[in-house]
Symmetry: D2
Subunit: 435 residues, 4 copies
Amino acid sequence: MTDFFKGISPVKFEGPQSANPLAYRFYNKDEMVMGKRMEDHIRPAVAYWHTFAWEGGDPFGGRTFDRPWFGDSMDHARLKADVAFELFDLLDIPFFCFHDRDIAPEGASLAESNRNVRAIAEIFARKMETSRTRLLWGTANLFSNRRYMSGAATNPDPDVFVYAAAQVKNVLEITKDLGGSNYVLWGGREGYETLLNTKIGQEMDQMARFIDLVINHAKKIGFDGQILIEPKPQEPSKHQYDFDVSTVYGFLKKYGFENEVKCNIEVGHAFLANHSFEHELAVAASLGILGSVDANRNDLQSGWDTDQFPNSVPETTLAFYQILKNGGLGKGGFNFDAKVRRQSLDPADLLHGHVGGLDVLARSLKAAAALIEDGTYDKAVDARYAGWQTPEGQAILKGERSLDDLAARVEKENLNPQPHSGQQEYLENLINRFV
Amino acid sequence: MTDFFKGISPVKFEGPQSANPLAYRFYNKDEMVMGKRMEDHIRPAVAYWHTFAWEGGDPFGGRTFDRPWFGDSMDHARLKADVAFELFDLLDIPFFCFHDRDIAPEGASLAESNRNVRAIAEIFARKMETSRTRLLWGTANLFSNRRYMSGAATNPDPDVFVYAAAQVKNVLEITKDLGGSNYVLWGGREGYETLLNTKIGQEMDQMARFIDLVINHAKKIGFDGQILIEPKPQEPSKHQYDFDVSTVYGFLKKYGFENEVKCNIEVGHAFLANHSFEHELAVAASLGILGSVDANRNDLQSGWDTDQFPNSVPETTLAFYQILKNGGLGKGGFNFDAKVRRQSLDPADLLHGHVGGLDVLARSLKAAAALIEDGTYDKAVDARYAGWQTPEGQAILKGERSLDDLAARVEKENLNPQPHSGQQEYLENLINRFV
Amino acid sequence: MTDFFKGISPVKFEGPQSANPLAYRFYNKDEMVMGKRMEDHIRPAVAYWHTFAWEGGDPFGGRTFDRPWFGDSMDHARLKADVAFELFDLLDIPFFCFHDRDIAPEGASLAESNRNVRAIAEIFARKMETSRTRLLWGTANLFSNRRYMSGAATNPDPDVFVYAAAQVKNVLEITKDLGGSNYVLWGGREGYETLLNTKIGQEMDQMARFIDLVINHAKKIGFDGQILIEPKPQEPSKHQYDFDVSTVYGFLKKYGFENEVKCNIEVGHAFLANHSFEHELAVAASLGILGSVDANRNDLQSGWDTDQFPNSVPETTLAFYQILKNGGLGKGGFNFDAKVRRQSLDPADLLHGHVGGLDVLARSLKAAAALIEDGTYDKAVDARYAGWQTPEGQAILKGERSLDDLAARVEKENLNPQPHSGQQEYLENLINRFV
Amino acid sequence: MTDFFKGISPVKFEGPQSANPLAYRFYNKDEMVMGKRMEDHIRPAVAYWHTFAWEGGDPFGGRTFDRPWFGDSMDHARLKADVAFELFDLLDIPFFCFHDRDIAPEGASLAESNRNVRAIAEIFARKMETSRTRLLWGTANLFSNRRYMSGAATNPDPDVFVYAAAQVKNVLEITKDLGGSNYVLWGGREGYETLLNTKIGQEMDQMARFIDLVINHAKKIGFDGQILIEPKPQEPSKHQYDFDVSTVYGFLKKYGFENEVKCNIEVGHAFLANHSFEHELAVAASLGILGSVDANRNDLQSGWDTDQFPNSVPETTLAFYQILKNGGLGKGGFNFDAKVRRQSLDPADLLHGHVGGLDVLARSLKAAAALIEDGTYDKAVDARYAGWQTPEGQAILKGERSLDDLAARVEKENLNPQPHSGQQEYLENLINRFV
């Protein structure tokens, strides 16, 4: 045991009345919700990078955190792994996620870098023998190193594509070996700083080729997890190709990947794309590509990705509603893609962030389940579309009517449909009853 | 002749030195640019609605314009048509565009409404015998009437779908009869005010069914123009399904319409979707769905669609570059989807808007052509991607390498690609040489 | 009694467990909160314009509502007044607010318009003899009529200034006569569409002159309510001079009005100015100009003012915290500057909006009060600033130290202050305990 | 001479026809514009930090630039100073600006840090004996070090205030010694990450105390340059107190500094505050606090500060119009607060950025001057306000009319003012004639 979290006790469920800031008030992992354990609904995960690798810098200031594992050696990386599993145990959390560069330092060559990642992964494997925390997903960092400044898969230099491919191969294999449920691709550099030096069509073809390589390799090695693309519209690039769920869908359809790849949807990325989180979930569900979730929130007044812990039960309830109606997240889960603020210097702050976030998820899950079990809301929405269930509605939908047919009917029946209340305020109040 | 534009002479090309505010300084329709008449590149159009139907209202104030044709009678509509062609002639502009509700009043039934539209269209046809102005595109207004408040194709009530279909049939046929080059679908109500009362999947299926009806009817009647969807992310709805070009592409691919339908891209809609106009053009070109353009601009500080006339030559030059590289707009053109400000009360203001806009387009076209003819810029961009033209680059792109192959090469060659300058400032300065 | 709300019973408090959509679950007017009746904390008001005058139009569509009082006659205005007080009674709400043009039609001259307003005000006075609803504030509509398109006080034409002044005089006097607690000035046209035709300095002087006239007239007639400016950054104008609370404060200070005028702060206007609502409240409180509140919310994805009813308890709790720490709103209150959506056609929707909004306010008030009464939160914030309470901290603040003194102390003490955790996540979780 | 810019020749004016990317096409320093040398209008400056200290990092990636002076020793700092003056000479630019931390490394104590800064400043002084480049302004970096994470002047810990004060004393004195024309205060940490842990009133008092110390010390040491606050609404903080020019003005008025302090206005900061640059200039000019300018531009689609070089002549022309109408910038100037993109790795890129920026400024200055000399535009705007020059207009403005007087006049004259065209399109076209 390191002494990083010295004096902090394991976080327990104490119920809504507890005033203990390091207790769960709502997150009660074994509590049954709609016939399933709460934990199996949420499948929450700690993000290795935000929690252990981020140093507290921002565009105008450097490191604020003072962690004994900050440094470039494998000793530092091993200490970091020790502290990580101590936090997992303190939180009693079932999953974590990582990028290769979060867990091990870059070496003098890719071969050495890959060996470093593998070495730490083996430490993870050993720790997982005694800890119950499992791997939700792994991913390769294809954005921090300057070699990727102009893209990884979409780089104008094919050698960078090749290098990135080799890096992904390593992490994909390690993800499989660690029993990871998903492999995620986030394309922070797959986009452009200026359209002036960019050939979009060429770069899209490169990106498709890259995804194809990953899909084929996953099959070859027998990885049976989900392959996920994480949409984000911008930042760090001015424009990123995986702008939002709809854009990713168009890409998948164009290149024929729509049955192989799903989306990992992040709250803050949805917001940056000028969507609500529940919108992106609903769109992905309707397109069959809802895979997993990055739980966080963005500051409403900041124009960049703030990756804060979720703290609004009303908003997260709407997300859980979409997820529950989709039949859950399957192999996906809720990764806390969130970091404590750069002024939150204390080890305890890392726990405050996760405890608050887990309680918000738990409370929201229960609210969404209650809403569904009550049934009033779903009935109101179904009633609104009832006309499309009639024989004539179905005939139109099935393509059994032509424009001429429909025009003739308007004329014959002197059709003049009247609008009906959309009942937005009623529905909003109804939702508020459950949060 | 009405006397609405009394005292205003036809607008002529007088050259860059002219200080006459109602002369063209750059728009010289017969001037040859890259081997084609300027007018044939731009194919500019007056928008009937903004120019003749908009009353100057905004969310906090009513009509400011005082036009003799404001009113609900067919007499008013006929006067409006007279003035419209007077403006076309004064501007010597080759095209116009219209919505059915701009040109003729709604009747007591759809049948009467359609007859009204047909009657005015016949007046147009007669006027086109003496005027040289032609129809760039027609469209149906499926958003103003309260019956469409919850959508047209995507309405929860199938009767509204049917009504809309019958309305579109009429305008599509009229567009064909008037020799229109395109038929446009803009879905301002195809979206939602609140996700709370909305079934996205259901509504997408309805929208696809509607498009299919239109495509089939166009074929049936022998309409050989382009069918265009006009992307817009929001306004009037909180969310619109045709969010941007990439989203529309995904929709077209999902339902198999990608060879039947293209996009009509509007500057201000691109901006509302957090894209640059040239980005949307480049994306559409790369996907093969660049159809036509709505030329305008948005105020940079306003969060809604302001539909102002274009006035920035540097920005519009980047748009023309994309269009020229795409081989032009074909049957498309530049519709001025722009209105004079609500404080621009005078008849002359209608001319100032169009004259300024045309000059900006002309100047930008010439700048983009000069940039291309110079060649320095294109060479710089091509050089950036040269690596992908090598045999190994091509082999990767063609799928002749696996992830294992690429990883083996990194190891064998100890590959460590170095980044190269993206030259953004150099390229920006280079562009500025031509504007 | 009209039959507009036929079948709708008065709304009663039924407690949190009620599933009756037209009952209050939290709004219990006589419940004591921190020693004061709930109603006396909130002082909620119905906005006449949104509730009775708005027709459901938006920039792309006309009237959707079908109200028997829509029309330009005084008979219509009287019917509207009848229905208004019926709603006030159904809601059992203590206040309302109005613009002159909401309550009575514009006449052929200002004299006639003013008489119309006065006539309806007399009807209000009579109704107030039997209803318990009082006037929170009145205001003049200086933005809808085309005469104000270029500003009222800031119009380039002094005759418009004069006309506006005469209009305000009438409403100010009526507000006094009806016992109104406040008079509000909202400057939707006091700004510009384009800086190109605008002299900012000249227009600011005009605006100051106008305010001065109002202050003096209020004193002259013995109006003892608050005079309030309502900040809004834009819409309808591209830029409005009353951008936000800080901007209004600078204006008041420049012209010496800071003791005469306070702010009426609207949630959605704060959001449009890229502030949180609680920020604007805190700033106004710190400057001594917090007067009253327009309760609503904006859609997070829409770039314009959506004026929806408040529905987020967590957000509104933060607002009540600021208000309670400020000692309450005094003569101010919570005006529901909110309208049901244009698709909410039914009379009952008007009640759903207000009932849901009142419940959110009540629940938020109670949460903020509990947070304050618990005391943990305030103690944590006070502790953060404790250093400034030391003698040396106070000496610095009082100006008893020079730059030389401070530099000497750094050198002498080799001062090297270390940062402390800002505890954001802990504080967020703490707040969440009470909402 | 270092060999960093090896092979790059001094940049000369070659005229608009030049295709040499490292020649000035418009910037011709001695050319007379409205009776003054072009250089004396613009007073352009290189920013030390962006040009020499920025490493090319962004929130998702580290250093991309490879500069021989990157490192923490004084030797590195001296090499950086050598290269800096080599660039100044190559560009033949009359000014530069710096933060203390850009030019010299932080030491083990503030005393050592201050000595480091002083030592490099002495090198600057020696170089200025042979170079013609002078100091436009100096400033202290009160934001990068973690000690400032919660503010400098507004820190909850008074010791941080004291430390910051001592740091500013050093830079202020050095700025004076180097003949700097201005001293700038930018408060990137004077704001908050969360209102939850913040006392705004307390922090404003601290900030005022700090400014007061600076003003007094400047007087004491005989610094006769301008003291400038640089507004920015956010980034790095969620909210910064110096939000925009109007907010800064309110602060200055509250504490009585309005005659002692002016504003340094940055293009990108105006944009982040949802203003146009010319708006902020016009507001500052109208309030008498226009001091200096940070010339750059923001990407229109990015939500953060991108600090790109200016490249739009139409936009910058509007800025120069405001500046020329204000009588110029006096002791202020145009600091290029701009950095080449992180992908612009080559030494030549540093020149491309500045050469392009200077040419845009020069071209814009000439366009604005031509617009003013033509006179048509100013006449049109003056005509719009002519009514206020009449005796009655003046009487109103001077306070010689009461609300009763004005109301009586409306009644007596049956006043009904009619609106006049705002001529926006005409004015926009007119401006376009000169750019």
